[in-house]
Every structure is written in structure tokens, then in C-alpha cells.
């Protein structure tokens, strides 16, 4: 069982095993005993509420956690899971079983503890200039996870977010009620039309952009969805940010495993999304060719 190091640089006062980096820019930490306070289940989707006040206090929308799913050597690596919400010293995560790691994680119960590192990465821009502006927040499938936190924070700065939430079927949009209860305007789409707009969430986004052009667009979801959203925002000159997903080895910039193609000042290269992302502006992302 992992225990925190006694002889680290940055030991926080107070109970628990905490250690910090110096600056707010890299304020991440490790909490080896974050307690799961509540678990909600819908099919293979899970919503965990996790007590971890220091991590919660530093979290920004679009950032993620690296979660150890097993105290054994297999599966070996932590899993990157985006932060879904923050409330009273807790962070929430919303995820879908997508493999062995998330399957083990999905089996955890309230009262279990998790070994987490976070908050990691650079989140969405919350620009004060969005105050009073209509902003589209598009989430596809499990990509809806950071959109809730983002929409809440956008409200806090006085922006007017509209959430577009897409899933394959009505069973794949389990958070719809949660958005509504939080008073966040949410429009849904399902691929088979079993709920809301029939078709991809990008079809819904196209309709919304056409009807009321937003000041900004945020999106998180499968690459194909975001690529289409990027095309839409480009055609209409709507500035946008996208949260990218990748296999991660470490989440802290050490392994160079999670790279995506990024173009800055005319230069293209493989950029670590754990460190410089996962959120990037639309004009920096080089979307992969269809294959």
C-alpha cells in the first residue's frame, strides 16, 4: 500500500498526507486516501463524489485526475479521469467503463478510498469577456464530464452557457436531469432519436450556431465529434476550445506518451496533452486525417 513520503519538500500543515508544488500554476498534489463519499450508477456510467478538499480547492474546469485503480501491479498505470464537478471539498468524476482500468474503478463503492494525483493539466479559459454572452458547451458521450463543471463556472462569471449533450441512445445521456436541476439550459441529441434531436450532437450544434451564433464554443468528446465541431466553429468564426483525450502513461509530463499534433506560430509538433492540454484552442489543433 502506497504511503505518502515523509521527507518531501512541500508538506502542508494539517492532517493527512499532502504535498504541494510551489506556484499556483503547477498546484497539483497527491492524495493517496481520497474517500469516495457517494456513487451513482447508470449502466456502464458512474458518477463518484470524492472527498479531497485540497484537490477540490485547486480544481479548474477541464483539468483531470490520475487515479490508481489497483494497489497491485496490474493494471499498472493510473487512469486519467476528467473532473466533472466541485462541491464542498469534494470533486466529482463521471466516467464510462471503457476497459479494464475503468471497469475496476467502476466497481468501487462509497466508503472506499482512491489514490489520486491532481488537479492536472490546463483547463478551459474562463474569460471575463464572456460575461453576458451566449456560449455553447458541447459534450459527446463521456465527454460531457468536464462540461458540467465548465458550465457552472461560466455561470459564475456571468456568461450564458447552453449545454449540448449527445449520446448514442437515451441511456447514454444520464446526466441530463442533473444539468436541468442545476438550472443549466441543456439540449440533448441521440444518434437513434430515442431522446431529443435525432443525430449527432454536432448536428444539434450546427442548428444552434445557425440560429443564435454563440460568442464561444467549448467541446469535449470523441475526436471525430470535435473535428466536426471545429469545422463548424471555423466556418462561422466562432472561437473555440476543445478538450482532447489520449492514452496517458503518467499524466505529469514525464512519459511523452499522450501527444497530439499541435500547430503554434506555424510550427507543428507532438505536444503532451497532459501538460500543455488537455484543452487547446481550435486554431492550434491539427486534426488527424480520417482513416
Amino acid at each position: 500500500m502506497m504511503r505518502a513520503e515523509k521527507d518531501n519538500f512541500f508538506i502542508a500543515p494539517g492532517p493527512g498526507f499532502w504535498y504541494f508544488s510551489r506556484g499556483p500554476e503547477t498546484a497539483m498534489m497527491k492524495d493517496p486516501e481520497a474517500r469516495i463519499a457517494n456513487v451513482e450508477r447508470w449502466g456502464n456510467y458512474r458518477l463518484f463524489s470524492i472527498e479531497t478538499p485540497e484537490v477540490a480547492g485547486r480544481a479548474r474546469p477541464g483539468q483531470f485526475l490520475m487515479i490508481k485503480v489497483s494497489s497491485q501491479l496490474d493494471p499498472l498505470l493510473r487512469r486519467p479521469i476528467s473532473i466533472h464537478a466541485r462541491e464542498n471539498g469534494r470533486v466529482e468524476i463521471f466516467f464510462q467503463v471503457a476497459g479494464r482500468g475503468t471497469e475496476i474503478l467502476a466497481g468501487k463503492e462509497a466508503g472506499d478510498t482512491l489514490d489520486i494525483i491532481g488537479p492536472l493539466g490546463k483547463g478551459f479559459s474562463l474569460d471575463e469577456r464572456l460575461k453576458g454572452m451566449r456560449v455553447l458547451c458541447v459534450g459527446g458521450g463521456r465527454g460531457i464530464a468536464p462540461i458540467y463543471f465548465l458550465a457552472k463556472e461560466l455561470c459564475a462569471i456571468g456568461a450564458l452557457p447552453v449545454v449540448l449533450y449527445g449520446g448514442k441512445t437515451a441511456a447514454d445521456i444520464p446526466l441530463r436531469a442533473k444539468f436541468e436541476e442545476a438550472g443549466l439550459p441543456v439540449l440533448c441529441s441521440t444518434d437513434n432519436g430515442s431522446f431529443g434531436f435525432m443525430g449527432f450532437v454536432t448536428g444539434l450544434a450546427a442548428r444552434e450556431i445557425e440560429a443564435h451564433p454563440p460568442a464561444f464554443l467549448f467541446a469535449c468528446g470523441p475526436d471525430a465529434m470535435m473535428k466536426t465541431a471545429a469545422r463548424l466553429s471555423g466556418e462561422r468564426n466562432v472561437p473555440a476550445e476543445f478538450s482532447l483525450e489520449s492514452r496517458m502513461g503518467c499524466g505529469i509530463g514525464a512519459c511523452w506518451g499522450c501527444v497530439k499534433r499541435i500547430r503554434r506560430e506555424g510550427q507543428e509538433g507532438w505536444v503532451k496533452i497532459c501538460e500543455e492540454g488537455p484543452v487547446f484552442p481550435h486554431d492550434e489543433i491539427v486534426w488527424p486525417e480520417e482513416d
Partner: protein, 317 residues
């Protein structure tokens, strides 16, 4: 108080735990998680002379207790390293070792000649064993002749000690190690990753864009340990053991097999402070067994039956 220091002859380490190149960034990435000065030392990510783009993704695939990577040595090159990173590392009270890469002999020499004059580097680790940068996993460390020529040439150009990092993808690891030693290597580190692959049965495609990658992590530890033992049985220069070390006990296995130090690699990804936990666990083991100096354990593998009985008894308390 246990004395954890180990002497490599050319370099004294405050403890036998180094962090492996490619798993520890340029060191600074880990400063938020651990005090770098608690380490025996760390080996920064492999440097070519210029910046290096690396391979297209996917670059990683997890396998049982292991990780296959095909990063392709993406990196910033020596000039950016010296300008941006080294100034922040050079005054640290720990051994900073630079992993040196090259397309060919001339580039290895250029890297070494560029870095020679800069303060704050304790030694070079010569990376002749990365499986991800040449066609089909090829690398200089697959052949004793190539190893000999390259180590000799770099050794001649270098003002700092040379640790040669070997590949496990060979028939006779001891033969390659002997070639490196004969060419003048000051130490040998092993093993780099095992050439490996993984296939997605649904798409029938390799899971890595590079098709092949290097396997690391606990899965490789027993094979790495065997190879380290074969090498320590053959060469006189100090040997640094690498391969799936994730606990103090794992590190001690390598020390007993004759390694004078170890490198912790993939474990850094799982727990950024894994190396400090391993140092602590080595200390705790020594205390528990009244071993005053960790050096007293190096190469103390017992292979005769009576001794094995004694060790079993001694483990009980």
C-alpha cells in the same frame, strides 16, 4: 543509521537509487512530488544534438504488469537543455546524469563534446539501446562489434565517465557487456526495454503506430535480473540494474545479483515519488536485518544450499 551510499568508483552516490532515462523527464517535472536531492541521482531523458520529433501516436499500450512504449526519443536537444534545464539542475546535491543519443557515431560525439564543458553533469549514459528509433528495433547494442566501436569513440571524446546502457534484445548479454567494458565504459547499465508488440483483435491493427515498442515495468523484472546477474558475473566495471523495479525488495534483488546501483523507471509513472519510497524501503530492510552499509549487500547472492538455509532462518526475525 544505515549507510545507503554506494561507490561507482568514478562517482559516489548518496544511495543506490537513480531514476531511469525516459521515465523522469528532465527531472524538473518531478520537483512538485519529491525532493530531487533525496535521490542517488537521476538520468534525464535522452538527448540528441537537435530537437527530435518522436513517433506518431498511439505511443503507449499497457500490458499485464507492463507498458510498451514507442515514444521515439522526442526531445529538446542539447542547446535547449543547456539553456533552459541545466541551470536549474546544476546546483542540486545529487548526481545528474545525461542520457546521450545519436543517429550515428558522429552525433553521439557532438552531443558529448557540446555537454563536456558544462558544469553540473556527473556522467553520461550512452543510449545505444533504444528500440524505437530505427527500423525493426535495431540499435547499436545488438552487436558486440558495433558496441565496442561506438563506446570507444565516445569515451575518447568525453571528459566525463561513460555508463553504457545495454539492450536486452540479444542472445548473449554478457558478451555485449564485455565489449563495452573493453572499449572503456566506466559502468554498464541494463536493461533497456524488451522489443515487444500488441495487437487490437477487433481492428487487426498493431496497438502502437510504430508497430513495435519497448516493454518495461514489473513484467520484465525477472528477465532483467537474470541478465544483470550474467553481466555482473562477467565484467569488473560497476553495473547498474534496471528493469521493473517498483519496491525496495525489487531493488535489493538487483543489488544481491551484483548491481552497485539501480534505476527506477516505469514505477515513476505510477507514483511520481516511487523512487523515494524504494530508498526508504531499502533503508528499512537494512535496519531490520542490522545491515550497516547497503554496500555490504552488493553481490551477496548465496548459491549454495547450506547458505540458503541460513538465509531462511535469518529472514524470520
Amino acid at each position: 543509521m544505515v549507510d545507503l551510499s554506494v561507490d561507482l568508483g568514478f562517482l559516489k552516490l548518496k544511495n543506490p537509487v537513480l531514476t531511469a532515462s525516459g521515465t523522469f523527464g528532465y527531472g524538473l517535472e518531478f520537483a512538485p512530488y519529491l525532493n530531487l536531492e533525496k535521490l542517488g541521482g537521476f538520468i534525464v531523458k535522452g538527448l540528441y544534438y537537435g530537437p527530435r520529433e518522436g513517433n506518431p501516436p498511439p505511443r503507449l499500450v499497457e500490458t499485464p504488469s507492463g507498458l510498451i512504449n514507442a515514444i521515439g526519443l522526442q526531445g529538446i536537444g542539447v542547446e535547449a537543455f543547456v539553456a533552459k534545464i541545466l541551470p536549474k539542475l546544476k546546483d542540486l546535491d545529487t548526481a545528474v546524469i545525461v542520457n546521450v543519443c545519436g543517429e550515428a557515431e558522429e552525433e553521439y560525439i557532438r552531443v558529448v563534446e557540446f555537454l563536456n564543458s558544462h558544469k553540473g553533469i556527473a556522467a553520461f549514459e550512452l543510449n545505444i539501446s533504444c528500440p524505437n528509433v530505427r527500423q525493426g528495433g535495431a540499435c547499436p547494442a545488438l552487436d558486440p562489434g558495433t558496441t565496442f566501436r561506438l563506446v570507444k569513440a565516445v569515451k575518447r571524446a568525453s571528459r566525463l565517465p561513460i555508463i553504457t546502457k545495454l539492450s536486452p534484445n540479444v542472445t548473449s548479454i554478457a558478451g555485449i557487456a564485455a565489449a563495452a567494458e573493453e572499449a572503456g565504459a566506466d559502468a554498464i547499465s541494463l536493461v533497456n526495454t524488451f522489443l515487444a508488440m500488441s495487437i487490437d483483435v477487433e481492428t487487426r491493427r498493431p496497438k502502437l503506430a510504430n508497430v513495435f515498442g519497448g516493454l518495461s515495468g514489473p513484467a520484465i523484472k525477472p528477465i532483467a535480473l537474470r541478465m544483470v546477474y550474467q553481466v555482473t558475473s562477467r565484467v569488473k566495471v560497476p553495473v547498474i540494474g534496471i528493469g521493473g523495479i517498483s519496491s525496495g525488495a525489487d531493488a535489493l534483488e538487483f543489488l544481491l545479483a551484483g548491481a552497485r546501483a539501480v534505476e527506477v523507471g516505469t514505477a515513476n509513472f505510477v507514483d511520481p515519488d516511487a523512487s523515494l519510497r524504494i530508498i526508504r524501503e531499502i533503508g528499512e530492510f537494512c535496519e531490520l536485518h542490522s545491515i550497516q552499509r547497503v554496500e555490504d549487500l552488493i553481490g551477496k547472492l548465496e548459491t549454495n544450499t547450506n547458505a540458503i538455509k541460513k538465509v531462511t532462518k535469518y529472514e524470520r526475525h
